[in-house]
Amino acid sequence: MSMTDLWFHEDHSEGVRFQIKIDKHLCSLHSEFQRLDIFETVELGKMLVLDGILMITEKDEFVYHEMMVHVPMAVNPDIKSVLVIGAGDGGTVKRLTEYKGIEKIVVAEIDKLVVDKCKQFFPDLTVGFDDKRVKLVYEDGLKYVRNFEGAFDLIIVDSTDPFGPGEGLFTREFYGNCHKALGVNGILVNQHESPFYDSYKDTVTKTHEKLKAFFPICQVYQAHIPTYPSGHWLFGFSSKKYDGTDIKKEKWEENKIACQYYNTDLHKGAFALPNYTKELLR
């Protein structure tokens, strides 16, 4: 039986287009904030798309989510209270709940529809939402975070791109408020876009500059995410005290968390950036 020739495409830049073969369209809805689509793909499992931009596929979500969570957790294994901004797909929260030592995980996701539909279509990814330590708040991250002072050990900004509902999460006022909401040991990890295409480059530089205005330590690490533009993706590691490469290896390994991407050797290597990326961060 032959398949319908159905393809999803996303322009990774003006002159580069990325295509994924679709098996079925599962869901298509509009929320107050954005359009949401979920597809069954031929090779990558299910896929979440917001405003036409690919967010996750089942096949490679582990790279992004493991790198957002395990890197800060290996630097400070004593993290107890975590604020996650965005992350309605559940992938980040799932990895956080694997740590027994974490006592509180607050998720501020602006769009309830994302959570509801991900629960429906990505049940394995959203198991973390049922954990007793997790509190879900449906609110703009920028609004939510400004209510706290010294309340969190770790803030993870698991946002969309800096246009649409995520744009407030790339601003100086947001990072300043995050700094305020973090305790003296605080770490901020943020989705830092890609250094490769011109349309993303500027955000990499500007975001780094904004973070530097608040945090004494501002580092950037990378991962290889096949379905994101260029595949070369960056994360920001900003902290009041800890160096991102200073890993508590043994302590972290005591957690006995099974990973597909992350290990402590890779952790160190992830902070070694190519020259063209370093150039953007000077």
Partner: protein, 481 residues
Amino acid sequence: MQDQRKAPVFEALKKHKSDRYVHFDVPSHKGGRGNPELAALLGWDCMRVDVNSMKPLDNLCHPTSVIREAEILAAEAFGAKNAFLMVGGTTSAVQAMIMSVCKHGDKIILPRNVHRSAINALVICGALPVYINPGINKKLGISLGMTYEALEEAIRRNPDAKAVLFNNPTYYGVCSDLKRLVALAREHGMKTLVDEAHGTHFYFGDNLPVSAMAAGADLSSVSMHKTGGSLTQSSFLLCGEEADVNYIRQIINLTQTTSGSYLLMSSLDVARRNLALNGKSVFAKTLELTEYARAEINKIGGYYAYASEICDGGAAYAFDRTKLSIHTREMGLAGIEVYDILRDDYSIQIEFGDLGNILAIISSGDRMLEIERLVAALGEIKRLYGKSPVGMMEQEYLAPDPVMSPQASFYSDKKTLPVKESEGEVSAEFVMCYPPGIPVLAPGERITKDIIEYIEYAKEKGCLVTGPHDMEINNIKVVKK
């Protein structure tokens, strides 16, 4: 009863674009092909509808078809006898209002915090100003509206005045008791003109202060582009029941372009349609966003986002709650400092900052996301730069001493003198001082010792003093005797 779903100029322009005329008329950019760089920036569609008057599109100077229909529709929407589409900004509307009721040597009563465009109109037509002291809210450092008593007194002293000009609402959102004031002026046979630049929404929203037409005024200038959604520089001049519409059109045509922009006119037309059909919900949303922002900003502490509680029944009779005016002195920063930090560090451009206040314009074009950015940035500015409170400078109203008409002083021979040595001379230029945005001197007024001291004091206190040619305000132009 007109069908407010119509937008005749807007529709005619759309049709014109789809009719694909070949143009051997001006403008010479010919749909952008003659200026492709500009077309790339503004968009080719925008260039294609930048056309000149032609039969299907009517003519602004003598409208008989689509522009005339747009005037009639706008008039109905605003509750006016006629509405002129203005393409020279509200400045041109204010000047046309004044020139249509005042001739050379006629007196007109104005609040001292009047917009410059009004005094410029006096330079053109040779009318004589009679100023009324607007009250000042000393705590906030803002000028207010007009009191009944002050107008009564001005009329008693100048029963021969031809007209009264009201400034309603002020930039900060303060309104006067317009209905009673208009009635008072009319009782004495004076024409009533309203500079309603910041009050377009009064005609369409619920629970807002009274509009000029509803208050019974003769003429009003509304900046559709400020709070009504049309393009910058487009406005309406509204006429009340007794206005001589044809005479006013003649006055407008004295100074108005004969090549009225269809971008501006179509924007007025379609913005009017939107407000006539959806104005209630548009301004309900604006109000909701503003009230939310005000409450959140007041929670930060140190900022005071004021509203109706500053009303006193007199010079501050009502407050336009769609305005987000914020006093900043309690957190130790000048409004202008907050204004600069917002722009430079947070990429947030607000409308205005003076010594004590900032003003943010909120509209239905805003989303909660933007409001949150403003609130978060203000919180950050206080956290990072907040200091102990600083008081406002004391300011007393200095009654002007006019000795020449603005026109006579404008056209006189002049000389430049150091401000300190100018006592007793007649000023040939403006000196404005922000705050509170009241002229210290206007052309034709005697420079007194008090005024010289005030200018020095205001400069020392960091007020923005503007007007004279000399940016440092060390020198001033005076009339040569």
